[in-house]
């Protein structure tokens, strides 16, 4: 049981990187960006291909970052310059990435068994794989949280945050909202691709299908984090995302352990997210009910 939990936590730290990426678009820019389904698989594809070509795993992870950023740039250009709605822009890039990812890998999946990965160094220091993933994952997540906390406090970061809140006001303050949206998408998809690269190396394979449903997992993690650990302070919000991603993995591990067939997982996640997203509406719906109960008392 403990082993399952530890595995869930270690995987959760890797998905936390992706969750933070989703948070940037979904919460900060106020865009549901489906590019992530492609960019997470792209990160995995780049890392896997690089590693079997004998490249340094850290270098391939860096390349994954660049690849993801490029994907974000494409979505950003489609949306801001060609005026395609954000959702559709994301879908277009996502679909395009499917073919691109197959080209990167040359086949639909690559096994990384017995290859050197970013975790190998820690494993050589005597950690088992799960612990190595957890340690490195936590390091990555913390570094990213600190960096983003700094970045969103800078002039450019503030401009990006304001764009999601009120683009018209941002333009009136002399900021090009096209640039801030593109920048946000680049940042987000870069992180998502890094997450994909780390996940592929931890599970020792990369699969072109890996991104399917990723956006829903990301949203679920964002919402779980906000509901359970949410705070007002920005640093706390970033931290809550990591905790949300880990909690999501633990929940999944537990329901699988309780005997839910793995094939039903996506259905389960979709229902969880649908319920979580509709919480404000449900609350309003039940409010009068609660009121009338109180009156009866």
């Amino acid at each position: 049981m403990l082993e399952i939990l530890l595995g869930a936590v270690s995987l959760g730290t890797l998905w936390a990187v992706m969750t933070i990426g989703v948070f940037i678009t979904y919460r900060i820019l106020n865009i549901a960006d489906l590019t992530v389904e492609g960019s997470i698989a792209m990160g995995a594809a780049i890392a896997a291909r690089g590693i079997i070509m004998g490249m340094n795993p850290y270098v391939t992870t860096l390349l994954a970052l660049i690849g993801g950023m490029a994907a974000g740039l494409v979505t950003g250009l489609l949306h801001t310059q060609l005026k395609i709605p954000a959702l559709l822009s994301g879908i277009l890039t996502m679909i395009a990435l499917w073919s691109i990812n197959l080209r990167i890998m040359g086949k639909s999946n690559i096994s990384l068994l017995r290859m050197d990965t970013v975790y190998t160094m820690l494993e050589n220091m005597g950690l088992n794989k799960t612990d190595a993933v957890m340690v490195l994952g936590l390091l990555f997540v913390l570094a990213i949280i600190i960096l983003l906390y700094w970045f969103f406090g800078t002039e450019i970061g503030c401009a990006i945050r304001a764009t999601g809140s009120n683009p018209r006001m941002v333009r009136a303050q002399g900021i090009n909202t096209d640039s801030t949206i593109i920048l946000g998408l680049i940042l987000s998809n870069g992180l998502v691709a890094v997450s994909g690269a780390l996940i592929a190396q931890s599970q020792s394979y990369s699969d072109v299908q890996m991104g399917t449903g990723a956006i829903v997992i990301g949203l679920a993690s964002v919402i779980i984090g906000e509901v359970l650990f949410g705070t007002k302070k920005f640093f706390g919000r970033l931290l809550s995302l990591a905790l949300g991603a880990i909690t999501y993995r633990i929940i999944i591990a537990l329901v699988l352990k309780m005997g839910m067939p793995a094939n039903d997982l996506k259905l389960f996640t979709a229902i969880t997210v649908a319920v979580a997203l509709s919480l404000p509406v449900l609350r309003q719906y039940f409010m009068p009910l609660r009121k009338s109960f109180k009156e009866v008392e």
């Binding site: 503030c158 401009a159 945050r161 009120n166 018209r168 941002v170 002399g174």
Partner: protein
């Protein structure tokens, strides 16, 4: 300071909804001018303001601010010399950011944004001083999210943001129309105070005849996309609502039938 030369603007050109919003509009604002722009619904006053701000491009004509032709410049580039307040109090500020963060964004209007901190301690003190002038108690709530403020408070904050960096032209688009009758005069008072303090060149769109007469040194009335009246100086000072209605009738050949302007 601001010149609008032969500007034409038509919406939905070539469809059944075609609407001529501006027809050969010419206007010149001298430095320190405070004009009130009045007219009925669809007269083109907001369109004119938005054309100056760069929200809409013009079909023909030019817009010149302080000897720079800005006709082709996008909205965010013109913003460096323009201060703007919108009709909707929600439009001028970012609701889920703090009061000081909003002011800091406005304080950098016209500057290139970098990776420097978005707000410094020195600025905080400046913002506190400036907020004190509004007498709304906002100086003690620098960190509060703007979404927590009332419509009037938000509009006052937007005004401060628009004038924090002295704009060449201040554009006010019916900025008190959405406020309750008690708050609107207070916000207008703040407006007047800020304009006088920095001798701002201002263009204020309003549908309220009384406000249009009471404020500013010059009154421009629009009708069906054209400027039909331009009253300034002593003549403007002596103007009454009845005069204005009569002169509207003479200039347009119609009755001024707009409940919103008459009743408020």
């Amino acid at each position: 300071m601001l010149r609008v030369n032969n500007v034409y603007k038509t919406f939905h050109t070539g469809t059944v909804n075609e609407k001529i919003a501006l027809y050969n509009v010419n206007m010149e604002l001298r430095e320190g001018d405070f004009i009130t722009l009045i007219g009925g619904n669809g007269a083109g006053k907001s369109t004119l303001l938005n054309c100056v701000a760069g929200v809409y491009g013009v079909d023909q004509g030019t817009i010149v601010i302080d000897a720079n032709d800005v006709t082709k410049l996008p909205e965010h580039k013109r913003a460096s010399v323009l201060g703007r307040v919108f009709q909707d109090p929600m439009m001028g500020t970012a609701a889920n950011m703090g009061i000081e963060e909003n002011l800091a964004l406005a304080y950098r209007r016209g500057q290139k944004r970098s990776l420097k901190w978005g707000i410094t301690r020195k600025e905080r003190n400046l913002f506190r001083e400036q907020l004190e002038r509004l007498e709304l108690g906002l100086e003690d709530r620098l960190q509060d999210k703007v979404g927590l403020l009332s419509g009037g408070q938000r509009q006052a904050l937007t005004l401060l943001m628009a004038t924090l960096k002295k704009p060449k032209v201040l554009l006010l688009d019916e900025h008190t129309a959405a406020l309750d009758p008690k708050t609107a005069p207070k916000v207008l008072e703040i407006t007047e105070q800020l304009i006088q303090a920095s001798n701002l060149t201002t263009m204020m769109v309003t549908h309220n005849m009384r406000d249009a007469i009471k404020h500013g040194n010059r009154l421009i009335m629009m009708h069906e996309g054209r400027i039909i009246l331009d009253i300034n100086g002593e003549e403007k000072k002596k103007l009454t609502v009845e005069d204005l209605l009569e002169r509207f009738g003479q200039a347009s050949g119609e009755e001024f039938a707009n409940d919103r302007a008459l009743l408020s």
